[in-house]
């Protein structure tokens, strides 16, 4: 009895499943077809160049010379013995260690000040954002003038209060710090905008609750509410700042060309010189891979930490 009932239904399901399967297959196919232009572009524009760089880094390829010999990890081994690369790596890390925390802290400070200000908020926001929107290469000439040892405004103002000026961009003691100052100036506005977005997401009532719960001072409320709730934003801003700082190039190229005495030699500038001045593409590619690895590690850290912290709301 039960078999006679079950058999027609199972044949029915089998009869239905064949067209259903066919439909699923055709749906998958049209999905692939629709996605293929984007995938082709992605492969061509992003993945292929990256793979090419990795491949070049394993050869002694020189631009303009025919043929390239596979030399394995020889380029990477040479990097370890290359004082210029090590200086460059060290300078980049120092530059990042100055610029990233400072631009995050100042960006947060600016955002907090603007947030608490009722009047002129749009004005301050725009002013702080201007350096982000302006061309750094063009602004670099202004900085060059400001930091000029004789006619520069910075030294003139220092002279007014009786302090001795310095050759900011021309001395190997100060050049990296001067470039870092320009880097901070450039990125504070961007970080501020990100922090402002994070601040508006904090419910006002939490501050009211904090005041009633005994957080009398603004600092106490910052610690109880703002800082923890901005956590995800801060992490994001920090990673973006690290990536941007590691990528420093324009100011070095336009203002110092790595000098004086290699004191402002940074990774991207060294890669540029190796690749485009000395045409050592293979060697430059090895540096690029190291550079990309640093960026990937930064992003991986962000991904891991954000995943570990659950979202609040």
């Amino acid at each position: 009895m039960s078999e006679s009932l079950a058999s027609p239904s199972s044949t029915l399901s089998r009869r239905l499943s064949a067209p259903a399967r066919r439909q699923a297959r055709s749906e998958a196919l049209s999905g692939w077809i629709l996605a293929s232009p984007a995938m082709a572009l992605m492969a061509m524009l992003i993945l292929a160049p990256m793979l090419a760089v990795v491949w070049f880094s394993l050869t002694d390829y020189q631009l303009g010379y025919p043929g390239a010999i596979f030399i394995g990890l020889e380029n990477y081994r040479a990097l370890l013995d290359d004082p210029l690369f090590l200086t460059s790596l060290g300078n980049t890390l120092l530059y990042t260690a100055i610029v990233a925390p400072l631009s995050v802290a100042l960006g947060l400070g600016a955002a907090l000040l603007i947030e608490s200000e009722t009047r002129g908020r749009a004005f301050f926001r725009t002013v702080y954002f201007l350096p982000v929107a302006s061309l750094l290469v063009a602004m670099a000439t202004v900085w060059q003038y400001l930091m000029h040892p004789q006619i520069g405004m910075i030294n003139q103002m220092l002279a007014l209060v009786g302090l001795e000026g310095r050759n900011w961009l021309g001395s190997s003691d100060t050049v990296l710090w001067s470039l870092a100052a320009i880097g901070v100036w450039q990125s504070v506005g961007f970080n501020m905008v990100l922090f402002l977005a994070g601040l508006t997401a904090i419910p006002r009532e939490l501050y009211a609750a904090a005041r009633i719960d005994g957080a009398a001072s603004a600092w106490q409320r910052f610690r109880l509410v703002t800082w923890p709730l901005l956590g995800p934003t801060t992490l994001f801003v920090l990673v973006i700042s690290v990536i941007n700082a590691v990528k420093v190039f324009e100011t070095v190229k336009t203002l110092t060309e790595g000098g004086p005495n290699k004191a402002s030699e940074v990774l991207l500038y060294t890669i540029y010189q190796e690749g485009f001045s000395y045409l050592q593409v293979g060697y430059a590619s090895a540096m690029t891979v190291v550079f990309l690895a640093i960026l990937m590690v930064a992003m991986l850290i962000q991904y891991l930490v954000i995943n570990r912290r659950t979202h609040y709301q």
Binding site: Q220, L224, Y312
Partner: protein, 393 residues
């Protein structure tokens, strides 16, 4: 544990040109539960925030017992507040949320630091805070939630954590800003009685803001009705309902809404509607115009030639199980009326049926057109007339 009296005197608040509060005076006895009720925008939440110290009033003073609160910042007022959104700290667990008022008051800035703060805090203090949090959590039956973060809790559970955070120290005043309005209907009714029980047990003077008159009437010792920035009446729930001092109070309190009839008053003080004398006021107002207000349950269906009977048409009959609302329209000027009848009585009527309605003069409230309540006089017109007959069906 004794509550403190709370005294608000002449509280005024303006935002720009708009006056939000127009001189509010409220005196709460120690341990009293006062509900502030009114339509949205009447200023009740602003008043609560002023008492909390979150807004500063333009005029007026706030006293709690023998202490002036007006000049103190919110953190020093020793009040506790439950917010409509609960305002729990999303990054803290329930236990940490509840502990915040204690931690902020008892520990120094160094002791509140993560990791090393633990090491700087005397063990006794930590244990004390821990024990108090646990005790409050058990009172509110949320001890099993203490390790959870707000995102992992239901609305009702968050509401309890917010209550626990308010109760964890013994504040001078409880302030509650529509704490139940984000709960579903069943839970709301249940939590009402719980909050009242908690309030009675702790004996802390409470101001409770709500737009829900049922909450106000059922929970509070006294209800303050606020309309457009004015405190119109502060009275017990019974008197607010039965003896409203202002037409707006009568209109706001009670569902369905109170019936209103425009009436003309003659020299004797008798109020007439469509040639029928319905009530008599002791001192007729100068403009001779009054509004008569009758609660739906006080409006009875009567026989055709009743001396106070008004002719009306049945528009609709709303069956609600425990009662039946008969929607009527006055024949003379189409004034809408509602009569609340027993289900047996009400269901007998059909739309477009012609009926006669009347109310006892004692149940007919007289208001001046400005809204003030007028005193009713002994209705002389009634002497010869029969008592209203209820129509039996």
């Amino acid at each position: 544990m004794n509550g403190h009296a709370l005294e608000l005197g002449g509280i005024e608040k303006r935002f720009g040109k708009q006056t939000i509060l127009k001189g509010i005076d409220i005196e709460a006895r120690p341990g009293e539960f006062i509900a502030l009720v009114g339509p949205s925008g009447c200023g009740k939440s602003t008043l609560l925030r002023i008492v909390a110290g979150l807004e500063s009033p333009d005029a007026g003073r706030i006293r709690s017992g023998d202490r002036e609160l007006g000049e103190l910042p919110a953190a020093k007022r020793d009040v506790a507040m439950v917010f409509q959104s609960y305002a729990l700290y999303p990054h803290l667990t329930a236990a940490q949320n509840i502990a915040v008022p204690l931690v902020m008051r008892r520990l120094s800035g160094w002791q509140r630091l993560p990791l090393i703060g633990r090491w700087l805090t005397p063990r006794a203090t930590r244990d004390e805070i821990h024990a108090r949090v646990r005790q409050v959590a058990e009172q509110l039956e949320i001890a099993h939630l203490l390790d959870r973060k707000p995102a992992k809790m239901s609305g009702g559970q968050r509401q309890r954590v917010a209550l626990a955070r308010a109760m964890v120290r013994d504040p001078r005043v409880f302030l509650m800003d529509e704490p139940l309005s984000n709960l579903d209907a069943n839970l709301r009714v249940h939590t009402r009685s719980e909050i009242v029980a908690l309030q009675r047990r702790t004996g802390v003077t409470t101001l409770y803001v709500t737009h829900d008159q049922a909450e106000a009437l059922s929970m509070a010792d006294r209800v303050a009705v606020m309309i457009q920035g004015c405190l119109l009446q502060l009275d017990t729930p019974q008197r607010i309902y039965q003896d409203p001092r202002h037409l707006e109070v009568a209109r706001f309190i009670g569902t369905p809404r109170i019936n209103q009839l425009d009436a003309r008053v003659d020299d004797e003080g008798v109020a007439w509607v469509d040639g029928t004398a319905l009530a008599r006021c002791a001192e007729p107002p100068r403009d001779r115009k009054v509004v008569l207000a009758i609660r739906p349950p006080a409006l009875h269906l009567v026989a055709e030639h009743h001396p106070r009977g008004l002719t009306a048409w049945v528009k609709r009959c709303e069956y609600l199980g425990t009662e039946c609302l008969l929607h009527l329209e006055l024949e003379s000027d189409a004034t809408p009326l509602i009569a609340s009848l027993t289900p047996e009585l009400g269901t007998a009527y059909r739309p477009d049926q012609r009926v006669w309605v009347a109310a006892e003069p004692s149940q007919t409230l007289i208001f001046a057109r400005s809204g003030e309540r007028l005193t009713a006089a002994e209705p002389r017109l009634e002497r010869s007339a029969n008592q209203p007959e209820k129509l039996d069906v």
